[in-house]
Amino acid sequence: MPKVLRSNKGTEECLLELLRFLLESGKVSGVFALRKVGESGGVAYSLITDPDTLKEALPLFPLMPANAAKVLSRLTLVEPANQPIAAVVRPCELRALTELIKRSQGSLDNLLLISSTCGGAYPLKTAVNGNIEEKLPAYWEAVKKAEIPPDIRPACAACEHFVPYNADMTVALVGNKDVDKQCLIHLNNDKAEQFASGMAGELIGGEIDSEIIESLRSKRQARGKELFDELGVSEGFDVRKFFDKCIGCRGCSKICPVCYCHVCFFDSGGDEHEPSYYETELERNGYGQVLPAPIFYQLVRLFHVSLSCVECGLCADVCPVDIPLWAVAIKTAGSVQESFDYLPGRDLEEELPVTAFKPEEFAAVVD
């Protein structure tokens, strides 16, 4: 019977207590979690080593200033963690981390992975405007009822993978109607039980209520369909119309957790041309587009990331001209992944389709 750590405290308070316990008992040397920064309402990930500093942590704050996978990859790229670290991350961040590990861009060694059934995150701009605080009560009400909180990012509103894969511990949020007075932390494996042992609270049996999860999943599926219809994103849609506003800042690639190239082709000079290239275009077409040239860039990026895209939506969040990149990503990545029966981040042992050779695959293409 899977175990659950239960206590009669608010979930965030109880999670912070667990993190403090882990830190103070020396079971971990650091905690990786969101933390308040500055006075204007922002949060950023932090590696926290001092229990006092932990007071500033907001591990369940509904904002995603970075995809944690990208940051954890950076921390463990040169060498694995040499001390145990507890990391509190969202399900999509955990999936992205799994994909990066498959691509040898980080290590899970010494990481205790704590995730949650995720209610979603607000657009970054919500925090900028300073009005995220006033949204929080409605957010937690919706999470309790397993509904979609108002104004969350469209990528989150349409996300069906809000239950984490491969988490050592899972904090129950979605549908936990007593989220502010009862805390349920699922201990998914022996490792989690060992880390949690000695922590105040009772150990009970139990599993995440699949009925509640399914009810939210179907709400999100329906919302996703609505959002796609609004944008006119359907089978065989023309991605080009989304890219015409692109200014070429490539923020979407810089923050993408699975944009894995060591040096981006578009930073390498690979897409630069001699003047004769543009002059030939001018002769041939009557005009020669110089900058930005988003179609080539966006298509190459989709080509690279679509197998591992976890639909975290950060690309759309950082776009200065509000291109609905999340929808493009979900539609294109979704169909690529489906054709390989591959779900990124589901299982570390599941080989990346492009690295696994199957003689019998895509017979139609071979013919």
Binding site: S46, P65, P275, L282, Q289, V290, V318, P320
Partner: protein, 386 residues
């Protein structure tokens, strides 16, 4: 404005756009240049991209003054000529800050201007990209009013305080439209190449430019005052380490500001390089020193590093701020610091193509006060009890 400035009147009818396009079209048909590098509206979209055009597509789709600066013009010139000069003679139509950035890139060896005619225009400013992304049509309507001469609070903050919105000295030819009569545009040459265009069109520099000159001077005065006032206030909000940290607290490390900056000249940014990838133990040590380490690390260091690289050449074009997803007033900070640094060296980026960047020039007798304070500090170190 110096009184020796001379200009020619190119007679044309219509709005600013039509008059400028008429000039460009005429110049191409007379063989003054072969094509134009100019913001072009992609047919059927709201968007503007720098493109090489001539003929019909020039007249139909080119917008010498689009409502937004979706790409900084200097970046377009460097994309076109970064690998050397082409065979064709190209007129690049850019805003004054774009012309100045182009001149800076010229000094850095990142553009080839031999076959480029750099042509700048009187600039009414640009509107924030975020507003345009939300509602392109409304933004364009607002801009049409601005083009007619209406002052507007909806312009980007750095545009509202820009005092270099007209001829700057970096261009071959400047197009004057401020205060000019509706019957044409003023063509003000700043180089033999610019004069060549007038010769080619059979124009002489005998136009009366006093109305334009007066309008430019008057607005420059106003803007200088606004800039000073704004900067004093802005400085009080951003000065000091705490304010600086707070100003950049929402930075998510996307580097959009660096990618869209026309000046940021490194082929690979140091902050994207392996130099900034450390072993886990290093991060943990740094976290232990302060109780916690913000991640990704080096967000503020990135901005300071960038500032150190490009602030002497910063033309306050505002592209960085436009591209920031968390609305950090990054262009305002860079304009403040850049302006102060430039003043120290009596350097105006893009004022002249021949003026070398200050860091490339050795002057024996410069910054003596810094030398003295350094000498004082080292003397103290040697004799700590003194």
């Amino acid at each position: 404005m110096v009184s020796t400035v001379k200009g020619a009147l190119f007679p044309a009818e219509g709005g600013v756009r039509e008059r400028i396009l008429a000039f460009l079209q005429k110049a191409i048909s007379q063989g003054c240049f072969d094509a134009v590098l100019i913001p072009v509206r992609a047919p059927g979209t709201d968007s503007f991209t720098y493109s090489l055009v001539r003929g019909e597509s020039l007249l139909e789709n080119a917008y010498p003054l689009p409502p937004v600066m979706s790409v900084q013009g200097a970046k377009a010139v460097s994309s076109l000529t970064g690998h050397g000069k082409g065979k064709k003679k190209i007129a690049a139509i850019v805003r004054p800050c774009e012309a100045r950035a182009t001149a800076e890139l010229f000094k850095l060896g990142q553009v080839d201007l031999e076959n480029i005619f750099l042509i700048s225009l009187d600039c009414p400013g640009a509107l924030p990209l975020a507003d345009w992304a939300k509602d392109p049509q409304k933004t364009e309507e607002a801009f049409t009013e601005i083009l007619k001469g209406k002052a507007s609070e909806s312009l980007r903050p750095v545009c509202r305080i820009c005092d270099r919105f007209s001829a700057t000295g970096a261009e071959d030819l400047h197009i004057g439209t401020l205060g000019a009569e509706k019957g044409g545009i003023l063509l003000i040459p700043h180089s033999p190449k610019g004069e060549g265009i007038l010769d080619c069109l059979g124009l002489t520099t005998e136009a009366d430019i006093s109305a334009w000159d007066a309008a430019v001077n008057s607005l420059t005065g106003q803007r200088k005052e606004q800039r000073q006032k704004f900067m004093e206030e802005f400085k009080s909000k951003t000065a000091g380490l705490d304010n600086l940290l707070d100003t950049f607290s929402q930075c998510i490390n996307c580097h959009n500001c660096m990618r869209v900056c026309p000046i940021c000249y490194c082929r690979q940014c140091f902050f994207d390089s392996d130099n900034m990838k450390f072993a886990f133990a290093d991060y943990l040590n740094r976290a232990e020193m302060a109780g916690g380490l913000r991640l990704p690390p080096e967000t503020l260091l990135f901005h300071i590093g960038r500032m150190l690289h490009m602030s002497l050449s910063c033309v306050s074009c505002g592209a960085c701020e436009d591209a920031c997803p968390t609305a950090i007033p990054v262009a305002q900070v860079f304009s403040l610091v850049g302006g102060q640094n430039q003043e120290e060296f009596d350097y105006v980026p893009g004022r002249s193509r021949d003026e070398p960047p200050p860091l490339r020039v050795y002057e024996e007798d410069e910054f003596e006060e810094v030398e003295q304070s350094c000498a004082g500090a080292s003397a103290q170190q040697e004799a700590p009890n003194a």
